[in-house]
Symmetry: C3
Subunit: 146 residues, 3 copies
Amino acid sequence: MTWFQHTLQLPPYSRGFHLITSRVVNAVPELRRLRVGLMHLFLQHTSASLTINENADPDVRVDMEASFSAIAPEAFPYVHTLEGPDDMPAHIKASLLGSSVSIPIANGELALGSWQGIYLCEHRDRATPRRLIVTVWGEADEANRK
Amino acid sequence: MTWFQHTLQLPPYSRGFHLITSRVVNAVPELRRLRVGLMHLFLQHTSASLTINENADPDVRVDMEASFSAIAPEAFPYVHTLEGPDDMPAHIKASLLGSSVSIPIANGELALGSWQGIYLCEHRDRATPRRLIVTVWGEADEANRK
Amino acid sequence: MTWFQHTLQLPPYSRGFHLITSRVVNAVPELRRLRVGLMHLFLQHTSASLTINENADPDVRVDMEASFSAIAPEAFPYVHTLEGPDDMPAHIKASLLGSSVSIPIANGELALGSWQGIYLCEHRDRATPRRLIVTVWGEADEANRK
């Protein structure tokens, strides 16, 4: 059983949905050593989130932002308004989407479907750096261990 | 520590919510050997998803389909429309529900509540086969190992 | 590799969003022994759910309840109505939010962000006890093992 854990500081992203697959994969080279295992990503924030979705047409990310902002709109009688009109909708989106994703590892690679990518979903208007905990565990491939 | 990983090809399901608990359990007989562990299901697609919900009254699945289609409606000014009016709502539902579920294993069985079942959520109008990666890991029950 | 699994009986909570972080952490003292690992929480119900969100201002929890009840409203032509008007919306919220959360463990502690807390989300009007399966696995810290 092999464990790896890294803290990744993501640069500030603008409000919206952003592909971070290669950034994550490059940060965990130890991934290649695992014959079978899991990768767990955890975002340490409550106004941004993680999800897995289409990695090709950038229009999908534009529509995701518009749709989630329609599902959790700013125009709602929120009580918690001190941190700005985008804050409470950000908390709701964070729970709709979730603060973690987990992806199986097979033969040293993430077993993503061909159209799947990892998204950082930034729900605040003002971009800030976000902290991501990457935890990987599994069974090492003996052949790759030398 | 014991690991099992299987790729399951699911048959085409019609648009809607479908119980797949027994299909999944039957595909992983090694489950029974684990005293404690976890099962992780990962769907390699971005227009279908997985969730856990009521396993009894089929009306619940009918209402789930109607409700999620109201939350992520086809009537919305999407930019990404080339793949049909059901495609962009499918991506939104996939992120609302998620591409994975994970369930604890206790004494060789999934520790599901009595009313819980695993759903495949098909969000496209046209049914297609879907690929599911089942990963199971845990501590083997020595008594069951012989 | 070390595994711990506990079944936690949560007391009845009123409809809404409730912080349960310390209750969970106190129930798993073995957590402190792990240098690196994961904690998985699984709720064995289909009309309540788990999520991670802001642990400070209680108004956030009030707004979460109002917002999720607007996203999955009682006023909808549901077919499954036998168990009361709050039942079908409860199932939808359970799938929107999810029946599990997983949190990385680093140096014997949950690696939560400073503003993150674990929520039990009770979606039924009538409060009932809820059962939570807590599974923890990881690599023990040798120094803490004596």
